[in-house]
Symmetry: C4
């Protein structure tokens, strides 16, 4: 099986999911109050759009790096990849539900936020599973040495831990939870995470 | 005509269809009861999402295997492929209709479930037609020997038989029908089906 | 500029447009009459779905053939291609409008059908413009000889003439108009149209 | 990291966004007045569709040219590219909001038009940032000479200036603002802008 088609299909799913996020940006339209007031009222939808957009973007960049280092494609990888995409595709739903409940600001905003965090945690878990798959002998073009694996695992676990914390904090204060997920995204964008495809780059960091 | 563009177009359609499945995950939102109750009430939508997602995923994995073994692309293959995609693209509609009728649980849940099964059977039939097309002299890179064709046909027929059974059982009990389609999907994911592109792998099973 | 990206982008647009057609398949759902009655009532939506699906499919197959024979990509080709895609992308709208007005069967079904025919005629015109572009010296890998051009133009004009006839007949009887567009699609699928990429194949027909 | 996947993902996002534009073309349907009257009433939606379609098309053509000249892909380019796509993906929302408020023609049509202009200005800014990124030593296959950079920057700035003017004029007369954005699009289509991938072509203009 070819890596190229795995990438093509995954890129297609990432591209559609990231574009569908914008379907949530709809406002009520003329006759429902001033436009600026409506836009202001729906601020969670805009924050959620940008946050989900960059998180899918980060996952895509990392998926890119991980897959470019893969030496072979088997059925197990394909299904692990499908599990990752299952969460990616569900993200527009989780995003719009969270934005809607945060906009009304009332009951169940905590559960909606926890659901949103769970979608992120699911992506993070599935991505970790693909990473673990890639460690087995002969599956990667540039094998990650055993000494450097713990460091890589810490990074993956850190992201997952942030999302778990966000899920827990959703029940304390959903806005704090949202802020933590935003900080995690900014951290991933800013930090020069090791390019998974060229493990040597890790040492330069 | 190039195989690459056939794959690119098909991957695009698979990717969009698999992502549109998630459009059915919408809930009524704030003011329509507790969120967890809404999510629980819509369980058929979530089950249907996961089931349709993995079924499209399986078809994609098998399509991938079958096409990678094809030696030439002619107009007939293109139109057989369009027939397969016709059912793939209709799946989000069949999925949402089934989920909606199973959620209310009343009248016509049987017909909606049979319709869902029919979409799966249609995909299965179209896929079999592409497989039969590939058997003719010179159309495959690695021809499947005549002795091994009956075994391959049994596998295809088995999947179709499961979907036909699911259609019939929909009128007895739609939930049993749904379970059978779920079992079929799990079977296809778990089983090490012969990699169609490398027929020799079949003997290892 | 590379042909590969022109193909990749066009394939993406074709794939999304062909999948969005299925968004029109929605029915009113439980509580709006029996499911079979609803499906029967919406027969124009299903006929329109299949017709639009195969017409986009045919355009894609022919686009594929035409572009694979192109030797160079310039800005003019890119914008002609955008004009073709403009009509492809508008087809889901034209399809759903036509289906809706044909379902109610009343006033303006003629105009809706003419609009649908106009979208097809637009695609046909834009495709012809790309074909004419490709005839200029040095733009094709296998130049179509001057003697064989009139025959190719007759084919293109025949398709356009059918769509123009369908537009006119829409005001007499929209169902006859729909039937003519269906016959045109079946003709294009069945007929062994000359593979535009290998002009020599034309003589074999 | 490979340029091919950056292109594939971007093309996917462009293709989905350009197709989603047509989702705004929905009309109220039978029972809401004559069809031609409805189509006429929604003229801003059709003008906005064509304008946004060709603007995304132009950005895609230029993105194509710029990326084909890029020698390497780093994380910074990936995130600049994500910023460009963030605005591309938001365009269907900005388009439908503008069209809706221009259709009613009343209050807030100015703000909706300014929002639409802002989306265009955002795309323009992000594109300029990618261009500036590409100027650094070793990042382009054919480096743009220092003498020719000011001319290129003037072109980029001119487009951005037009969009800024359109934002300002939205508060004077939204229709004039729309016309200016239309003229900008026509200018970009007609003008033989320098092919960014082959800077030598610039001198021929």
């Amino acid at each position: 099986m070819s890596k190229q088609r795995l990438e093509g299909f995954s890129d297609g799913v990432f591209a559609v999911a990231i574009t569908l996020l914008a379907l949530d940006l709809a406002i009520a339209g003329p006759g429902h109050g001033r436009l600026l007031a409506q836009l202001g009222h729906h601020w969670p939808a805009f924050v959620a759009y940008v946050l989900s957009f960059f998180t899918i973007g980060i996952i895509w960049v990392n998926h890119h790096g991980l897959v470019s280092n893969i030496a072979m494609v088997d059925r197990r990888l394909m299904f692990l990849n499908l599990c990752l995409l299952l969460f990616v595709v569900a993200l527009p739903f989780a995003t719009s539900t969270m934005a809607e409940y945060l906009t009304t600001g009332g009951q169940d905003a905590d559960i909606a936020m926890a659901l949103y965090g769970a979608a992120f945690a699911g992506m993070s878990l599935a991505f970790t599973a693909i990473f673990e798959w890639s460690l087995k002998e002969g599956r990667s073009l540039h094998a990650l040495s055993r000494e450097r694996r713990p460091a890589a695992r810490v990074r993956f676990t850190a992201g997952l831990a942030m999302y778990m914390a966000a899920i827990g904090l959703a029940f304390v204060n959903p806005y704090v939870s949202l802020a933590i997920m935003g900080i995690t995204a900014v951290y991933y964008v800013v930090e020069r995470t090791p390019q998974l495809s060229t493990p040597a780059a890790d040492e330069e960091t």
